[in-house]
Amino acid sequence: MGKVNRREFFEELIATQVETAPVVTDDIIYNKYANKELPRGLSKTTGTLTKYTGQWTDNEIIHLLRRTMFGVKYEDVLALRGMTMEQAVDELLSPQTIPSPPVNNYNTATYNDPTGVPLDDTWVNAPYGDSTVNSYRLLSMTNWWIGNMVYQPQRRITEKMVFFWHNHFATEYPAVAFAHMTYRHHMILRNNVLGNFKTLVTQVTKDPAMLRYLNGYLNTKTAPDENYARELFELFTLGKNYKPIYSEDDIKAAARILTGWRYNTSTWTSVFTANLHDTSNKTFSSFFANTTITGKTGAAGAQETDELIDMIFTKQEVAKFIVRKLYRFFVYYDIDTTTEFNIIIPLAQMMMNTNWQIKPVLETLLKSEHFYDMLSMDCVIRTPIDYVVGTFRTFDIQLPGGWRSDNEYKIYNYLRSYMGQLGCEPNLPPNVAGWPAFYQEPDYYQKWINSTTMPRRMQFMDMMLGSGFSAGTGTAIKIDPMHLAKKFYSPGDPNLLIDFFCDLLLGIGISSTMKTNFKVVTLLSGQTQDYYWTNAWSAYIANPNTTNTNIVRTRLVSLLTELTHLAEHNLC
């Protein structure tokens, strides 16, 4: 291997391998401890959707931030202290600036974009080019997305909702295969994060990326392809659990309605091709009140798709299905009958009453006494994305100024691979159902934590607290523990400093005995007097020379290693 630097070698390795979710089935340890059935008998909240009027302390603030964003930034805690609960939720639910599109990060000394897009310029409006540049653009698109998550400019729920919809309308980039399509698909989700669910379903149904991914573009009157029609029912609107209610013939009828959709690879739009469309009438089962959708010829055939979606959206099941999914994403996976009555049914009703608006549903949930009940807190297992992006956000890890996109995207690319190693790479779900952690009974998000991913999570923190990673940029990206400590008003007080770190990093609080123990062992190096830390910190602030810096850094790294290795660090 010559004099290859070991770090560079492995970074390259990890960055180029396509890693799917670690297989859990053979995991003896996981199988022993994960849920065998839904955890019943726990003390759970019986709170309703009544507006929360209780105290508004860091406890509630951090809970809200953790559930609606990736990790917690201390600046956001400070900002929310100056608001009421309602103001905070309103702000989180207001629109976020649309990010500028992904760019050419792939030009090098020996490679140039064949369509003439220069480095740092966007390729989303450039021609297809060839398969090589397309493959670079596919990665550029996901890496751009990760950059948006890490450096989202405003305090908004947007990035978490984009991921929610990506999981809901799951597509895999190698199957979509056209970078332009993955970007446009992504923008449909992003532009509708808190919009209208029915509009979203309509747009996704006609979206070139989805037409490719689920073979809609091959669906033709002479050989109907039922792939999309089935998933439209089972995964996107009505849900699998209601399969016995609608019939196989309903799926066949829907597939015939959807015949004729194609896509154009220069405009990247979908095109309805009337001569491929089945113009016969389509009649549905009693579940859909024996509705007949009249076959149409010519361009009018496209209207049948809208009529199909109108028909599906007469069903209350659609509202319940998506509300349950939102609940599992934002609150907890187990929905018992009390929760079904107190939360799911009223929210589903609200969604139907507001003609499928998403925002009022989330607003009601996030302002409810149910959401702020102590029993609703700390019980979500952080996704790999939340773990990785949250680490960057909480520790406020910044990239060097003046970098161009090639270096910048190398960092995102590294994070993308690491998320894959932890079981959740964006744009690469295991299949159209999304990640099992969001739907599979009885273990749900426990799936994120298994005997492969648990050690890797801790290794990620070790790396970030240690020498970091450079991903071929020549600059190590890592946590500066003093940078975060300095944001706190009293970093010289070891007790308050530990409280501060615990609040930001741990899902569920630890005992004061544990905190004292960590303090003595790490910040005080075995001493019992707090002033030894206070003096060391003051000396560092007064004169950050090598000695003083090393003294505080090693102790902070030691403390943060302890805290981030705790099981509690994986909860939010």
Binding site: R7, I29, Y30, Y33, V380, R456, N517, G526
Partner: protein, 526 residues
């Protein structure tokens, strides 16, 4: 290791690797290091580091009876009455604090070596900096991010954690009792230690249980994650197994309230249970006795006395158990503290940060007694007076490396970053003499010519399997690997040694071949 093998072996460990940024060339297999690693595993020697946090008051621990009046002038308010000082078997110049009866008994039985006046030039008075210095083995003005034992383990187990655990080393390289992995064990690429946070977490590991959590959704998920975390820790299984093999059986263990004993109990079970782990780190805090070091009316009791009693009882019980569990031949323990305390006591009945202090080394194979004289005290110590440096702390580390772990001089110098003399803390630990432990005669022939000045030839027999021959000097220190271990057919063989830069003198050469071990003496002359 081939790159592919490496990747295959440690998928999970991969990430820990590249992050640390060590050149791939560091993987190159070094036969000497491999040999040393095997040697450590084979002789099973264990070192227990006992850290006394806060700066132990040496003058009230090892008491200079020959300068009692100076001591009395300097610290009358905390002075141990002369008639209460514990006498030691072979000296009337030095005694021990009255709370240390256990260690006094061990001393009288030849299990203790005390090194006087240990420190380093230009001592630092800050707890943090001084602790970092002791852990890293650095000079006062030198900043080293690795620990001396971490570097030692790096040499012994190159590449860790890649490829670990493996059949040669299935166990943790080092275990620290207490949360927060010690800087002592920080190596170049990784920290080489495993922490067992507390007695409670030890029992959790042993019993496969986790701490209780509330019966809520958060508690439910927390418990799940804790189980997965515990069960996927690399060494959970070997710790469970070792702990299951041995119990704490000494009747000397203090019943409750002795934090050090709690830690040493864990260490004892793990050693007795067969872990190959060579290094353990335990600690006890509270030595920063600026005030109320002693009871105001009875100076033989109080905070410092309690700490010394804890150490004394814990160490005594530990070595008692070592005897019962028959690992006393392969265990040594040493104390260290970031500094000693001031000669003159203060008005709060305590002592402020000072310089040097005595270090205790415990083992069946120490040279029993005291190295160095009592530190000289001024007739009337002033507030700023400090004890002089009598022994550099790294000369004890070198004794541990050279004579306890039997590391060759070159590696030892690398670990300590400089050459230090080896204090005669340990006896000739190899117990070298001409012996043959074998049912067969003449497995190792006398070298010819002998004495020799340029080269000499050794004839030996192999029963098949691995054969190795090492050369030791008269103090038992490994000088050279004459024949690095390799597979050799059954039958007679020869090896010729070039003298190289060997100084003239007596040496021992030892052959190992399975159960056959034989040692003979040779002489080098100019």
């Amino acid at each position: 290791m081939k790159r592919r093998d490496f990747l295959k072996v440690s998928q999970a460990a991969t990430l820990a690797y590249f992050i640390n940024g060590t050149p791939v060339s560091a993987y190159a297999r070094n036969p000497l290091l491999e040999l040393l690693a095997k040697q450590t595993a084979a002789n099973g020697r264990v070192l227990v580091m006992i850290q006394l946090n806060g700066g132990n008051d040496g003058l009230n621990t090892v008491i200079p009876l020959d300068q009692y009046s100076q001591l009395s002038n300097a610290r009358s308010n905390i002075l141990i009455p002369q008639n209460k000082v514990l006498a030691l078997a072979n000296t009337n110049l030095t005694g021990l604090h009255p709370a240390m009866t256990g260690i006094r008994d061990m001393y009288d039985n030849g299990l203790v070596n005390i090194i006087q006046g240990v420190g380093y030039p230009d001592p630092n008075f800050s707890h943090f900096r001084a602790t970092d210095i002791w852990m890293s083995g650095s000079d006062e003005n030198q900043y080293i991010n690795t620990g001396w034992l971490g570097r030692h383990l790096d040499e012994e187990f190159p590449g860790y954690p890649a490829g670990f655990p493996n059949t040669n080393m299935p166990d943790p390289l080092a275990i620290q009792i207490g949360s927060g992995i010690s800087n002592l064990l920080q190596g170049e690429n990784a920290n080489l230690g495993m922490a067992i946070a507390s007695l409670n977490s030890f029992y959790n590991i042993v019993n496969g249980t986790v701490d209780p959590a509330p019966n809520t959704p958060a508690g439910h998920e927390l418990t799940f994650i804790r189980y997965i975390k515990q069960q996927t820790e690399t060494y959970t299984k070997v710790i469970q197994t070792a702990a299951g093999m041995a119990q704490n059986v000494s009747t000397k263990w203090p019943t409750t309230g002795n934090r050090l004993a709690d830690q040493l109990k864990i260490v004892s079970r793990l050693i007795a249970g067969g872990l190959k782990t060579p290094i353990y780190v335990v600690s006890i805090g509270g030595f920063d006795t600026h005030s109320q070091q002693t009871d105001s009316t009875d100076t033989t009791v109080g905070n410092h006395a309690n700490l010394l009693q804890d150490i004394s009882e814990a160490v005594d019980a530990f070595f008692d158990e070592a005897k019962i569990h028959k690992y006393e031949d392969r265990v040594a323990a040493m104390t260290f503290s970031e500094f000693g305390r001031r000669i003159k006591s203060n008005a709060s009945g305590g002592t402020d940060h000072g310089t040097t202090a005595p270090v205790f080394v415990f083992s069946k194979y120490v040279n029993p007694g005291i190295i160095g004289v009592n530190p000289p005290l001024p007739a009337n110590a002033a507030v700023g007076d400090n004890l002089p440096l009598l022994n550099d702390y790294r000369t004890i580390y070198s004794a541990v490396l050279a004579d306890w772990f039997q590391i060759d001089t070159q590696t030892m110098d690398k670990v300590l970053m400089k050459h230090y003399k080896v204090l005669p803390v340990f006896q000739k630990t190899n117990n070298l003499e001409e012996t043959t432990i074998s049912g067969r005669d003449e497995i190792l022939g006398q070298n010819y010519p002998n004495p020799f000045s340029r080269n000499t030839t050794i004839t030996f027999s192999s029963d098949g399997g691995m054969v190795g021959i090492q050369l030791f000097d008269v103090s038992g220190r490994l000088v050279k690997n004459i024949l690095p271990p390799k597979q050799m057919d059954k039958g007679k063989h020869q090896v010729t040694i070039e003298r190289g830069d060997l100084p003239p003198g007596q040496y021992f050469y030892r052959l190992s071949n399975g159960k056959n071990q034989s040692t003979k003496q040779l002489t080098v002359m100019d």
